[in-house]
């Protein structure tokens, strides 16, 4: 019943979770994202799994680079019914390998335009290939007081629901 009420409302639904910078907690975040996307939004199961991977990769990056050990990261999931699903992943800039929004934007643009054949290295697939290809907008912003916010947005579109997992070009990427 509660689920039905949520689905019928036109008001955006926003949930915020703060976790310590430990990968230990990420399986719980993935469970939450998968269930939220499957049960509350209008996205298909396939897109629920994809959004789960998008959020996991963003959290990994924030933990590895943005917030130092012993600090926290914040995850905000926002669903605007019948329109789009967004995630904001925020670090506090205390990480030893933190980057500015401009640096991240430049890096992202560079990697997003590489072809799959160039991705033979050990790392560097998560942001351009998973986040980039499975969302419609990715925006990096510097936080006041330090840190970074990464916003990834996926529009709810009928044509995306018809995409097969065997299609090589699953979505369109708009980098702002």
């Amino acid at each position: 019943m509660e689920e039905e009420k949520i689905q019928n409302t036109e008001k955006p639904l926003e949930i915020t979770v703060t976790i310590p910078t430990q990968a230990y907690f990420l399986s719980g975040i993935r469970d939450f994202i998968l269930n939220f996307t499957k049960n509350v939004t209008g996205f298909s199961d396939q897109w629920a799994f994809r959004f789960q991977a998008v959020v996991d990769e963003l959290c990994n990056n924030a933990i590895e680079h943005g917030s130092a050990a012993g600090q926290t990261i914040e995850i905000v999931v926002a669903y605007t019914p019948s329109k789009y699903l967004e995630v904001f992943v925020k670090d506090n800039g205390s990480g030893t390998s933190k980057m500015t929004a401009k640096q991240m934007t430049d890096l992202f643009k560079e990697r997003v335009h590489m072809t799959s054949g160039e991705y033979l290295g050990f790392r560097g697939r998560g942001l351009p290939k998973i986040v980039g290809e499975w969302t419609d907008e990715v925006v990096f912003e510097d936080k006041e007081g330090g840190g970074l916010v990464v916003r990834a947005k996926k529009y709810l579109r009928k044509e995306d629901e018809e995409v097969s997992s065997l299609v090589n070009d699953p979505t369109h990427l708009i980098l702002k």
Binding site: D56, R125, G126, I130
Partner: protein
């Protein structure tokens, strides 16, 4: 913390002169466990310096992140560089989806079933 079990066995009935190992991955491979678990595969690769054939049975794998895929790419490079082969079998749709989006299926053949993978590798 995500849990994953990796078990490795010899393929029964492997053609003479062929070293074929089945690697069963069950659970979730993520940032919390992949570095530790990957060591098992590196040990396996080091134990067979030439002509190792690996079949990754992904039937029980629920999740893998980009770092896990990075490891798999590295295993592919090492094994294929020493005259061996790596294939994937029975991956769930979400796993196949993520392998495809990062381009790994352009390097490593994915078979729908374990039986198909065994037949292909054991020829």
């Amino acid at each position: 913390m995500a849990q994953v079990q990796i078990t490795i066995e010899d393929l029964a009935g492997a053609a003479e002169g062929k070293t074929i190992k089945l690697v069963h991955l069950v659970g979730q491979l993520d940032e919390s466990n992949v570095d530790e678990e990957a060591k098992k595969i590196y040990q396996l690769i080091e134990s067979v310096p030439q002509g190792l054939n690996l079949i990754f049975n992904l039937e029980g794998l629920e999740y893998m992140n980009s770092k896990s895929i990075g490891y798999m790419t590295d295993w592919y490079s090492k094994v294929s560089g020493s005259g061996g082969k790596i294939v994937i079998a029975a991956a769930r749709e979400n796993i196949l989806d993520i392998l495809q989006v990062v381009g790994l299926t352009q390097l490593v053949t994915a078979y729908a079933t374990l039986e198909e993978a065994k037949l292909a590798v054991n020829q």
